[in-house]
């Protein structure tokens, strides 16, 4: 079986390499008959998907069959592993996750190659670029990180088991989401590089890739937040984001991808920022690969990283070649990227996009800089330093607040130029609402509980929290005001009710109003994050009947129990939660010990409300007294983060739905590829 898997991977490499080389040859020659060669390259690309899918299926079946003759299965699975997690074996280790990466990339390639009739030549270029990336990953799988390598000597009767941290339902979803996001940026990258290489006329390639980019961005967003959610519910330290290098690696392409999603609108509407957009998407792809390099090379320390290996050199070489290709085609065809329009005013939608891009890129730089500084410090000074949460919180929070401010302001500015009177009219009541929330939060007594009774003068973190609350409110109110304004116009024209009119409004310009809903979600996420400045915790050794007070809650230890499963044994505390003397819940925090890996694991119990989370962890037992230690965290507003991400996902889905009535901009975009770009009517489709 392992031989068949290895053969499938070798064949997949041959097919992908053929797709790349034949495509490259045919597209560079442009001779008669090259269409046939392009077609064979396309079909080879499709067939490579079949081979990678076969190899992946073989590895999953090997996990289900407990085939420990394959070293990868021996190291990442065991007989008692529950069936759903046997799937997760595919991406739980270095070799398997690279195979999974290849599978997803081939799947994206498959979809692209099946939809080639949209624009055969552009798709041929994009397919060739994707085949080059596929070839790199298949080279790794065949020669550097072989998932079907045999177990040396006689295989044992049972495997080493899956990392306990990965044995959580969300872990079956989180890595695929994240990978779909990472890998998905290969598609817009391939179209961008292809369009640059062939000097593709107009902006049509952007229209073609818009949905790809948005879907990819949505996957990456969901992947990142699922990771945060998993960290919160599994790692047991009471937080959801630790600025770990692996977490940071996922944030880098997300930040540049978000910048691209915004600035690309300037290219669509005004024919501006062509060079900038080209390099943004190049950077996004390179950062996705760079992030993969970081997590797999051992360059930086991280609990999430894969085992240190030699594949880092392969990634460095691939990054260098890709960057060289980008620079070469840019240098060759940069005249093709001249802007068609210039900026009229600093107070305009265009300049807000410029500042939005600037802030996102500075955020990206700060994260990258902080992540790499330990390595730089070691090079320069000869010793490593740690760059952890205190650094990132101090640097990133002001940048994030600036971004939130732009999120509120940007959509209300007009393309071209905005006058002061228009600004005042648009901002009066959202700004008043934000100020009112600020006054309310400061004027209320602390006894009301977080987030009320904020005292921004006591600590800088309280000041930031207050600003986040006010700016978040500003974003929410500006979004509401936009919906209300548009809804009223439709209501006046159609004599329908306001709610129905707002639904119709969103359906007529899904991209614009979907974007607003995404902004709404972003504001909710920021409001959720502001609560972290008000976190509290308490820890106590607890026997039966002992109580632990935290904020408005009183935790009373009712009992302890144990559970034995084939996979793990667990100590479980049964804690009654009292509020105002009345029992409101019972929580069951666990401390597990996994037999196969011989690793302990906390499973926190969380009582989640809109206002706060009561997060209880069974920390273990005091070795001297033998009494269990319970740690409780009171984390205000955390639920808002998860609600915010759901809202962001809903907004993205809405933005992906085609308009019910095509906006003029969309109609203009459907004109032939050779048509010259005309600026779309102001405000349409943005």
């Amino acid at each position: 079986m392992s031989s068949l898997g290895s053969f499938a991977l070798l064949l997949a490499l041959s097919l992908a390499a053929y797709c790349f080389l034949a495509g490259l040859w045919a597209l560079s020659r442009r001779e008669s008959g090259s269409e046939l060669l392009v077609e064979t390259a396309r079909r080879a690309g499709i067939a490579s998907f079949g081979m990678v899918a076969l190899a992946s299926a073989i590895l999953v079946v090997a996990a289900f069959r407990n085939d420990f003759s394959i070293a990868y299965i021996l190291h990442h699975s065991n007989r008692a592993l529950p069936l759903p997690y046997k799937f997760a074996v595919l991406w739980s280790g270095q070799e398997g996750s690279l195979l999974f990466w290849s599978l997803l990339l081939s799947a994206y390639g498959l979809v692209l190659r099946l939809r080639y009739r949209t624009d055969e030549r552009l798709f041929a270029y994009a397919s060739t670029v994707i085949a080059a990336v596929q070839s790199f990953f298949l080279l790794l799988l065949n020669f550097a990180a072989r998932p079907f390598a045999a177990t040396p000597g006689q295989p044992g009767s049972d495997g080493n088991g899956l990392n306990p941290l990965l044995q959580y339902p969300e872990m079956v979803i989180h890595p695929p989401m994240l990978y779909l996001g990472y890998i998905g940026f290969t598609v817009p990258f391939a179209f961008a590089l292809g369009a640059l290489a062939m000097r593709y006329p107009g902006e049509r390639w952007i229209h073609i890739t818009r949905r790809w980019t948005m879907v990819t961005w949505a996957f990456l967003t969901c992947g990142i937040f699922l990771g945060a959610h998993w960290a919160y519910y599994v790692l047991g330290w009471g937080g959801y984001w630790g600025w770990d290098p692996v977490e940071n690696a996922s944030l880098l392409p997300w930040l540049t991808g978000t910048a691209f999603l915004h600035s690309v609108m300037m290219q669509e509407k005004r024919g501006m920022l062509k060079t900038w957009n080209m390099w943004l998407i190049f950077s996004t792809f390179l950062l996705a690969i760079f992030g993969t390099f970081l997590t797999r090379s051992g360059v930086v320390n991280s609990v999430h990283a894969f085992a240190q290996s030699s594949i880092g050199d392969w990634f460095v070489a691939f990054l260098a070649v890709t960057l060289a290709a980008c620079i070469f085609f840019y240098a060759k065809n940069r005249a093709h990227l001249r802007s068609e329009h210039r900026l009229e005013s600093l107070v305009s939608r265009e300049s807000s996009f410029l500042f939005n891009n600037l802030v996102l890129l500075v955020a990206c730089f700060a994260v990258l800089w902080g992540t790499l500084f330990p390595v730089i410090s070691e090079w320069v000074e000869g010793h490593k330093v740690t760059v952890g949460p205190p650094f990132f919180n101090k640097v990133m929070v002001p940048i994030g607040l600036f971004l939130l401010f732009l999120t509120a302001v940007g959509p209300l500015l007009a393309w071209g130029k905005t006058s002061f009177s228009s600004l005042r009219q648009n901002f009066l009541w959202p700004a008043s609402g934000a100020m009112a929330i600020g006054v309310l939060l400061v004027a209320t007594p602390p006894a009301w509980g977080a987030p009320f009774g904020m005292r921004p003068w006591q600590h800088i973190s309280y000041f930031y929290s207050l600003m986040a609350a006010m700016l978040g409110t500003l974003v929410v109110l500006t979004v509401i005001s936009e919906f209300l304004r548009g809804g009223r116009v439709i209501a006046a024209k159609t004599a329908r009710g306001l709610p129905l009119s707002m639904v119709q409004l969103a359906r007529r310009n899904t991209r614009r109003y979907g974007g607003y809903i995404v902004h709404f979600g972003v504001a909710l996420v920021f409001i959720g994050i502001l609560g972290s400045a008000l976190n509290r915790d308490a820890e106590k050794e607890m026997s039966f009947g002992d109580s632990l007070a935290l904020g408005p809650y009183n935790l009373v230890c009712r009992s302890y129990t144990q559970e034995e499963t084939p996979n793990y044994s667990a100590n479980i505390a049964i804690m009654d939660v009292l509020r105002d003397g009345r029992q409101v819940d019972t929580l069951y925090p666990e401390s597990r010990f996994y037999a196969a890996t011989e690793q302990p694991q906390h499973v926190p119990a969380v009582r989640s409300t809109l206002r706060e989370d009561l997060y209880v962890v069974y920390e273990g037992q005091n070795p001297e007294t033998g009494r269990p230690i319970i740690k409780a965290h009171l984390n205000p507003l955390v639920s808002w983060i998860w609600i915010g991400i759901l809202v962001m996902a809903s907004g993205t889905i809405l933005a992906l739905v085609p308009n019910r009535v095509a906006a003029p901009a969309a109609l203009a975009a459907k004109q032939g590829a050779d048509a010259q770009m005309h600026p779309a009517p102001v405000g349409a489709g943005d």
């Binding site: 009229e344 730089f365 205190p390 130029k417 006058s419």
Partner: protein, 170 residues
Amino acid sequence: MRRCIPRRSGQVTEMSKRYRLRLLAGLSLGLVTWLAAGDDSARVQRLGHEMVCVCGCNQILLECNHVGCQYSDQMRAELTSAVDNGTGDNGILERFIEKYGTTVLAAPTNTGFNRLAWWMPYIALAAGIAGVLLTVRAWRARASRGSPRPGRNGSELDHYREQARRETAL
């Protein structure tokens, strides 16, 4: 009664004074003790969040929760003991660096080469803002040279823009 009242009143006043003084002294002592205790606890919290556990988990010292972690309990005990002994913040951090190396600090110090870690993001932001402003200025200059501006004032144009926006976006 008249004689008694002032005497009694004087006694009461004297007693009241003494009582008040004692109460004040007791309260002050309690307050100082409470404040000192509170201050120590706050210092442990603050310093514990400025360091990481050196077990390799990269977590903040007070947040490391690995079962059986060989370092975090010991480090927390050392921190609490140093704070109880009245060692200053810098002294405590220096002692930890001496024992566990520079990686024990959760963020680079604002000294020497490490300053660069703190400055670079802000330098990038400043350079970026300057770059955007210069770009906008250059674009506007080129736009004004390239095409004559229409003879309409800003608010008039805004009116038309708003109208166009309404009519095309809906």
